[in-house]
Subunit: 711 residues, 2 copies
Amino acid sequence: MTLSIPTSPACGGGRREGAADATLAQHLFAPKSVAIVGQSNDATKTAGRPLKFLRQAGYAGRIYPVNARRDEVLGERAYPSLAALPEVPEHVYVVANTEATIEAIEECGRLGVPVVTALANGFAEVGAEGHARETRLREIVATTKTRIVGPSSLGVVDLRHKTFLTANAAFDEKDLPVGRIFAASHSGGMIGTFLSRGKARGIGFAALVSVGNEADLSIGEICASTLDDPGIDGYVLFLETMRKASALRAFALEAAKRGKPVMAYKLGRSEAARSLAVSHTGALAGEDDIADVFLAECGIARVHTLEGLIEGFPMVARVPALPRGAKRGAVAVVTTTAGGAATVVDPLSVRGVKVEQPSAETLARLKASTGVDVAPARIVDMTLTGTQYDAMKAALGVLTSAPEFDMVVAVIGSSARFYPDLAVKPIIDSAGAQKPIAALLVPEAPDALKRLSAAGIPNFHTPEACADAIAAALGRREPRVIAGPHPNPAPFRGREKQLAVRMLDELEAYALLDKLGVAHAPSVALDVNATKVPSLPFSYSVAVKALSAEIAHKSDVGGVILNVRDDAALLAATKQIAQSTKAPRVLVQPMTQGLGEVLIGYRVDADVGPLVMVAAGGVLAEIYRDRSLRLAPVDLATAHEMIGEVAALKALAGYRGKPPGDLDALANALAALSQLAVMDGPAVAEAEVNPLMVRAKGQGVVAVDALVRMM
Amino acid sequence: MTLSIPTSPACGGGRREGAADATLAQHLFAPKSVAIVGQSNDATKTAGRPLKFLRQAGYAGRIYPVNARRDEVLGERAYPSLAALPEVPEHVYVVANTEATIEAIEECGRLGVPVVTALANGFAEVGAEGHARETRLREIVATTKTRIVGPSSLGVVDLRHKTFLTANAAFDEKDLPVGRIFAASHSGGMIGTFLSRGKARGIGFAALVSVGNEADLSIGEICASTLDDPGIDGYVLFLETMRKASALRAFALEAAKRGKPVMAYKLGRSEAARSLAVSHTGALAGEDDIADVFLAECGIARVHTLEGLIEGFPMVARVPALPRGAKRGAVAVVTTTAGGAATVVDPLSVRGVKVEQPSAETLARLKASTGVDVAPARIVDMTLTGTQYDAMKAALGVLTSAPEFDMVVAVIGSSARFYPDLAVKPIIDSAGAQKPIAALLVPEAPDALKRLSAAGIPNFHTPEACADAIAAALGRREPRVIAGPHPNPAPFRGREKQLAVRMLDELEAYALLDKLGVAHAPSVALDVNATKVPSLPFSYSVAVKALSAEIAHKSDVGGVILNVRDDAALLAATKQIAQSTKAPRVLVQPMTQGLGEVLIGYRVDADVGPLVMVAAGGVLAEIYRDRSLRLAPVDLATAHEMIGEVAALKALAGYRGKPPGDLDALANALAALSQLAVMDGPAVAEAEVNPLMVRAKGQGVVAVDALVRMM
C-alpha cells in the first residue's frame, strides 16, 4: 500500500479571509480517513471516546487508532505512530497530553496531514510557556500544509457524515436529529449542550465544532470553509472572545451574501464575565459594547439567553436582514391565554420591539374571519374561542397579512399540553404565511414543541428566550459595507503597550484635525518665558492651557486657566501654568461657547480594529456610559444614526423647546474623524476631541481640546 | 335534613388586614362541601370541568352540582338551585354566565355561603356596566357573610385536600406532585402553567388560586388567610396589577414575621405591558418602578423570568431576608464545565450579584481537600477531575464554609445527562451545608433536575432563571417598618382626578416647607402694579418669578427672569412677567448657587399610597430616568440609601476630585419632605422641590422652587 498524497490546497497564508473552502471543509467534516492519536483502550476515559463514538455513529471512512504503547485499543488494531499508517489520514484528532500533542502535530506537518484537531490544554491559556508552545504550532502551520483546530478543542462533529471526532461525553448518544444548522463554540462543553438541548426540542445540527484556542484556524475561518455547503442553512456561534475578529467579519459578510444567517451568544456582558473570559481562554476578551457593535455591523444577530441561541435559529432564519436605514414594523401577539401572552410582551418591549394593537381595519377583518369581536388591545385575545382550529387559523391569516405587522407571535395555553396536535395545527398550517410566526407554549408541552420544530416553525419554551430571539431576528441588519480599504485589525493585537509611545501636543493634534476637516478654536502658542504677548488673532477673554505632549489631562494638573481678560493676566496665567506643569509653552484660545459639549473619539481596538465614538461631554455621560460606537470609518448617514443613539444628545435636537444644535456639523466632524482609519501617513492609535462645542443649527462645531496618540 | 349553618366569622369589613384566617382558609381550600353552579353535562366544556376534576382527584367532601335545566350532570344528581341543596355548602364555584353568576352570588349571600368563587367575565374589565356589576357584588359582601373570589377566577385548588374547584384545563392531569408552595395569580391561565411546568421538574404546590378581578377578596387577603397553615412554606405570586396593595403589604409583613418567604413576578416592566394590564384586567396597573419599590419594601423577592418564578422558590426559601442596612457576600461558582458556568456568571453580574474568586486561604483549602490545584479565577473549575464525587463534594464543603461566600452555584455539564445520579450526588449530599447551593445543569438533564428537586436543592434549567432567582433571593430584604401611622392607600384609588383641584402658590408652598423644616431661598412677594421696590432682605442679583397658584411650570410661560441687577430692572421684569403670565404678583429671590441641583418629590400613588423620590435636577435626569423611590415616610438612613441609588448624585459625593456636596442636608430634606405622609392637617397630593440647590458639605441645601398640590 502506498501513501496517498492529499490534494488539499490548504496552507497557512495567502488565502482570502472569508472565502468558502470546500476542500478544507471536506477534510474537517467529511474526511475519508481519520486517525486518533492517543486513543485509549478505556472507553470511559476522555481519550477513549473518539473511537467509540465514531464506531457507534457508523462512520464510513477509514479509522486509524494510534497508541504508542498498545497494539490494540477497544478491540481494534492500533498503530504506533502516524508515520506507520498505511495512508496519510485526512483528519487527525490528537487526544494525547500536551507534549505528545506537539510531537504529533509536528509529525502531521511532516506527513502532510491536511487537518489536525488537538484536545490538549497547556497552551496560550497557561502563560508564557504555553504561548511558546502555541508559537511552535503556528510555525508548523506556516511551514507545512497542515492546518490546526484547537488546541483545547473538544472536537469536530458532522452528524451527516458521522464524523464524531470528539471527546465530548454528550455525543455518547443515539438517535441524534440531523439538521441544517452549523454550530461553533469557543467553549467545548457547549457543543454538547447544543446537542442535548436541541435533541429534546427536535432541533438538529449539521455539524458542530469546538474551536478551542484558535492557534491556527479561527471560528471565522472554520465557518467560512463550509459556506458553499448546500446542507447548511446558517450558523450559531457561542463566543467567549473577539479574538480573530477580522476572520469572523469576513465570514459573516460572505454568509450575508449567500443569505445564510449567523447568530451569536457572547459571554462578557458584565465586568465579571470579562475577566472570566481571560482566565478561561487565555484570550483578552473584547469589551462587551465593542463586541456588540462589531457583531451588529457584521450582520450577526446577537442573543442574550442560552435558550435563545438554541431555539432561535429558525426565527432568525425566517426574517431577512434589514437593509441599513430601513425600519421594522410591529409584532402582533395572538393568544388563547392572555396572562401568558403578557409574559412575552413584557420582555419584547424591554428589548425595544414594538408590540402593537391591530389597526381598525385589521380588527374588522379579524371579526369577519374569526367571528370573534376581538378587543382593541396589544394582545389579540382569542380566549373566548378556546382552542378552535378555524378561529386561530383565520386570525393568523389576518395578522400575517396585515400591513402593520412584520411578525406574529402565537402564545398557546393548556391545550398545547393536552392536545398538542390540535393546539399547534393552526400554526403549522400557517407556515407558508407571508410573515413569520413564532410560537410560545406557556405550559410544559414538549410534544407540541417538537411538532412545531418538525414543521420548521420557530418555537419557544420560555417567554424570555422567545423575546430574545425575536429581538435578535428583527434587529439583524445587513452588514455595513465599510468604505475604503478597511485595515486588517490583526496587526494590532499584542501591540497595546506600544500605543502610548508617541503623543501629539495640542497644536499637532489640531494640525491633524485640519487635515481631517474638523474645525477647532484658533490657537496661539506662547513660550512660558515670554515677557510680552504677541498680537492675538482674537479678542479677550481667552483660555490658557499647558501645551505639551507629555500632559494627557491638563485640567487634572493645573494646566488650564479660563476667562483670562487681558495681557497682564495672560502672562500671569502662563507663569502659573509653567509652575504647575513644567510645560515649556502654553496655548491661548478664545473662550468658546456652544449649546452643548460633545466628545468624539477614535481608537484602534486590539481585537476589532478602528472604532469611532460619540458621547455627551461632561461628567454625567461618563456616569451613564451614554455613547454610540461604530467600526471606522463611518459615512454621514451612519454618523447621524450614532448621534441618534446617544440619549443625552436629545438635548441638542430641540428637546423640550430648547434651541437645536448643529447636528449636521457634528455628524460631519464624526465622519471626518473616522477617516483616520483609512488615512495615509503615520497611523493614529487614538484621537479624542473633548469637548467639541456644538453651536446652534447652521453655526457649526468647534474642537476646543484634542488628544492624539500615534502608534 | 336540615340546613347546617356554617360558623364562619367571615364578613366584609372590620378585619385586620394581613391577619391569618384559618376559617376563611378552610372554606377556601378545604371545604367539607362544595357546590358548582352552572355545572355542565359536557366534561369537555369549561363549565363541565369542575365536577370532573373533583371526582378525578378524589375530593372527599360533599359535592353538589347545580344546574337549572337538568336533573343529572355527568351521571350525578343535579340540583335546580343553591336553595334546593340539603345543606349550605362551604364553598360554591359559579361557572355560569355573567347575569346568572350575579344571581347565584346573591343567593349565596341570602343562604350564608361563606365563600363563593366566580368564573364569569363581564365585570370591571368591560367598562361602566361591568363596574356597576362589581359594585353589586361588593354590596352583597358588605351586607352578608359571603366572601367572593373573582369574578374572572379560574378557580381555587388545594392539592392536599383534592379541592379542584377549577375550570383550568391544566388540572385534567393525574400524579400531580403535592408540595409546600402556595401559588396565587391574577392571570387564571398561569395556575395551570405553574402546575405543568412544576410537575415536569418535580416541583409541587400545596394550593393554587386564580384571584381574578379581586372584587372582594384580594390576592393579599387570600394568601394571608393561609399564613398559619403548617403545610405551606411560602408563596409565589403572578401579579398583573398593584390593586389592593395595602392588603398585599399587610400579608407580606405577616409572612415575613413567620419566616415564610414571598416571591413575585410582575407584568409591566415596559410601557407596552402596562397598557396591556389595563386592557386585560381592567385594573390601572401601577407604574413599574413604583411596583418594584413597593415589592422590595414589603420584603417580596421579585423575579423577572417566568421560570425564575417556578424554579426559584427553593432558592428564595433557603436565603434569609437581609436585615436592612446589611450587605451580602459574594457567590462562588464551581463547575465541571467552565464555558457553561460562564453563562450564569454573566447574568448574575448584570443583575448586580458579586461573583468572586476564592480567597488565597480558600484556594489553599480547595487544593488540600480536592487535590486539584484550582486556578485563581471567578469560576472554580474542577474540569480536570471530571465527574469525581469526592472532589466535587470536597469543593462544595470548602466553598460553603468559606467566609467570603454567601452562596455556591454548582454548574454541572454532560455527566448530569448520562449519569444523573452520580453527577448531582455530591450536591444532594451537601444539602445540609452552612450556605445554600444552587445547581445549574447545562445539558438537557430532566432526571437530574428532578432528583435535585426531590432533595430540596434549588435547581435550574437555564442560566437566566438561575441568575434571576439568585439575584431575587440575595436581594430580598426584611420589610421596612414604616414609622408613624402609615396611611392606608386604599382611599386614594379612583381619586386621581381630584388630585389637581387645589394648588398652592410658591409662597404657600414655602410655608409648607417651613413646617417640614426644609430650607428655602428668602422670598419677597411684589404686586405686579407696584411702582416702587420695597426694601429687600437680600442684595442683587435677584430672580423674579410669577407668583400664582394657576401656573405649574413658570419657565414654560415666560414667568421667570434671572440675574436682575437693580430696582429698575426688577420693576421692568415684573411688568414683563405680568404681561406674559397674567400673574397678579411676582416673587423675588436672591440668585442662589450650589454645587448641584436636585429634585426631591412626594406624591400619593393611587395604588401604593405616599411615595418619596430623589433625582438629579435638570434635563439629563429626565432623559436617563435616574431616580430613587421609596414608600413614605423614610428615615435618615433610608434617605441616604436613596441618595446612593441615584447615579448622577455621585457627582455630589466627591466624584473625581470634585468638592463634595452637603448630602447630609439633602438626606435631612428628603426625610423631612416624606413626613407629609404622616403629617396632620390637609392632605398633600403632591409636593416637589425642583431645584433643591445642594451646597458644599456643611453649608446645607436650599429650595429655590416648589410645587404643591393638595387633595
